[in-house]
Symmetry: C2
Subunit: 394 residues, 2 copies
């Protein structure tokens, strides 16, 4: 039988990254492809204790829960965000099944087919997937290393009247970029001027490598123009699938109603465990440890690139945080083809093209440095540098 699918999914594609992950999970390929934290750094004993405490506290933690999320967790999140000067009431926080669901629910309640969203180019590809699935038109704005460029941004806001501007301004995926404070202020000013929403996706903000902290855009806003989402996936463990989003009450309320229909509520046993974890575990100390370890690994990767010197035809920026190196090869190189050679040589990365809204730079690639220990990074980079130094130009 032939099944008739909805128009919204006819162009849906499986995530390039996840498909690559399936391939490289076999055998002895060293993978820099996924956006995975290192499971050896997971606070397993503490998570175990937290689940134990939650399950011992009351059978009610295993019962159906509120769609908005466990109240105690929302209070803790309000407190944690306040440290970053994002002051939001717990009632304006919605717990989601990872921050991916925050993007999806937001898109679901906001966008009609044909509505417009502005993004950077490249940007987080699974956000692009969500927008495409709601038939939203994604328009890229020119950026440099400090963020979107004022003139192009204002021109495109005027021209396209976007409902929203989606960005990952802090240690971005895939570029590892940080928006300057000035550009953050500018973006917010334009959002206010043209009554456009900003969606600040901040999964990596805590994975910071240098002293200089740039404030989240949400901290500059009076809860009118900025939706802010983050997650415990990079700082605690991904398998818990617990993220959150905060923003104007009307929107959070509408998203909660949509969430009722979507999955009733996020796994509340896990939410209760997180309540205990945040109470008894020094998550900030753990985050400092992650910062230190991941920074070292970033430097292992960087040093190998640098040692390559002129024989290694690449350009990159040193990431100030996050989980990725974004690398450009000479324009004659197609990294999708290079990936085949790389996998043959026992190493994998993600080609950069799928992260682009349009005009993909086929010579780019994303490398993850958080999931592998230094000696594995060295071994993998050796294999990668071999391939990079003599790419077969297609």
């Amino acid at each position: 039988m032939k099944y008739g699918f909805a128009k919204r999914v006819t162009h849906m594609q499986s995530s390039a990254v996840r498909d690559i992950l399936k391939v490289v999970n076999r055998g002895d390929v060293i993978s820099f492809a996924g956006g995975l934290p290192d499971e050896k750094l997971f606070p397993i004993d503490e998570v175990k204790t937290a689940f134990d405490q939650a399950m011992s506290s009351s059978p009610k933690v295993m019962q159906y829960g509120e769609t908005e999320g466990v109240p105690a967790l929302r209070e803790q999140l309000a407190e944690r965000m306040a440290v970053k000067e994002i002051h939001r009431d717990p009632e304006n926080i919605l717990i989601t099944s990872g921050s991916q669901q925050a993007i999806d629910l937001f898109a679901r309640v906001m966008f009609n087919p044909g509505d417009i969203i502005l993004t950077e180019n490249p940007t987080y590809l699974a956000a692009l997937q969500v927008f495409q699935s709601y038939e939203v038109q994604v328009i890229p704005v020119e950026s440099d290393e400090d963020g979107m460029i004022e003139e192009d941004l204002e021109t495109k806001i005027q021209q396209y009247k976007p409902k929203c501007i989606y960005i990952v301004p802090t240690y971005s995926n895939p570029e590892g970029k940080v928006w300057s404070l000035e550009r953050r202020r500018l973006l917010l000013k334009l959002a206010e001027k043209y009554h456009t929403l900003i969606f600040e996706d901040d999964p990596y903000g805590d994975i910071q490598f240098d002293e200089e902290t740039v404030p989240p855009i949400a901290s500059l806003d009076d809860n009118k123009y900025v939706m802010y989402t983050s997650t415990f996936s990079k700082t605690v463990v991904p398998a818990m699938r617990t993220g959150w989003i905060t923003g104007p009450h009307q929107i959070i309320r509408m998203m909660s109603q949509a969430k009722q229909a979507t999955d009733l509520h996020t796994n509340s046993l896990t939410q209760h465990a997180l309540v205990h974890l945040l109470r008894e575990f020094d998550l900030d100390a753990h985050i400092h440890k992650l910062q230190k370890v991941y920074k070292e690994r970033m430097h292992v990767m960087k040093d190998i690139f640098d040692r390559g010197g002129d024989t290694l035809p690449i350009r990159y920026k040193v990431p100030k945080g996050g989980m990725f190196f974004w690398v450009a090869m000479p324009e004659s190189v197609n990294t999708k083809e290079l990936l085949n050679q790389a996998v043959d040589n026992g190493v994998a990365f993600v080609p950069g093209a799928p992260f682009y809204v349009n005009n993909p730079a086929q010579n780019t690639m994303r490398l993850n440095f958080t999931n592998s220990e230094p000696e594995v990074i060295e071994a993998g980079m050796k294999r990668l540098v071999e391939v990079m130094s003599e790419p077969i130009i297609g």
Copy 2:
């Protein structure tokens, strides 16, 4: 600021049931409103052990997982479904965040605005919410206590060319009804004849009170026409938010891709815990215990109705399983108004109207008997019968 929402959510309403739950959770109201299992019957120690085993097995259980679900769990589910003669490959099973998400993902990949689905009337209201959110037109089919009536069903299939027929054929919500085998076969025959899908929602199938088992419709199908979903929410614990769906490979594959964009994957720590639980815990023995206890509670409720005799102006059918009594008062009674009197008298139920696609019977109500112990049911029913016996007719 005024925010412009998507057309699909402009008519979205918060679930009547969940709103009532919020009210009745305060104070000393005895609630028959929610569809809650009894948390005193949760296998807490076993769930605790299962989480402990999962977390001790490998740090990988806390890492990102596959969108389709943990392979070992999908294998166990294939085995469990095979006992019910539903023979499906694990690769045609998708793990979802509760069976609610199975309904949502199915709707997301199948329906364009204006597409048509046939349902019973009344039916599961949160499914109606999902369909409405995708702007699907829901057409009710006439039913009696054995299921949809052949003539009306075939006429409406011919007239409306529905993409799907959604049903809860076993211990339905809200009616507590079981479709006869004959009607199940008939439905499948018509689905085959007209190339229409059947969505068999089976959250309550295990909560069975008598010996007679009617086979799931999926067990009669060669994995061509029937989507089948169920959940651990009623048999293990709801807070885990773990359900599953099986059906034709093309559809399951498309739903998996949609799930990537929606929430990447369902909480995999919980999935791994379920793998251990299903290995080491006799879930079937536990289900037998639930059947026994819930059947007793159903009888406590029934006996009080019966004692009311002629002075109690109600009609009901004895449920053969599931979690609900569906009760009709005289037509002059509006149960939404009666609810106010009931809550004043310290007891709550769900008025029947929101479960209807159209022509709501305002005199109906749904009573849950699984969440309260017998003495609480007695106390609550005493309060309810007082209100029922002398309703203020509006």
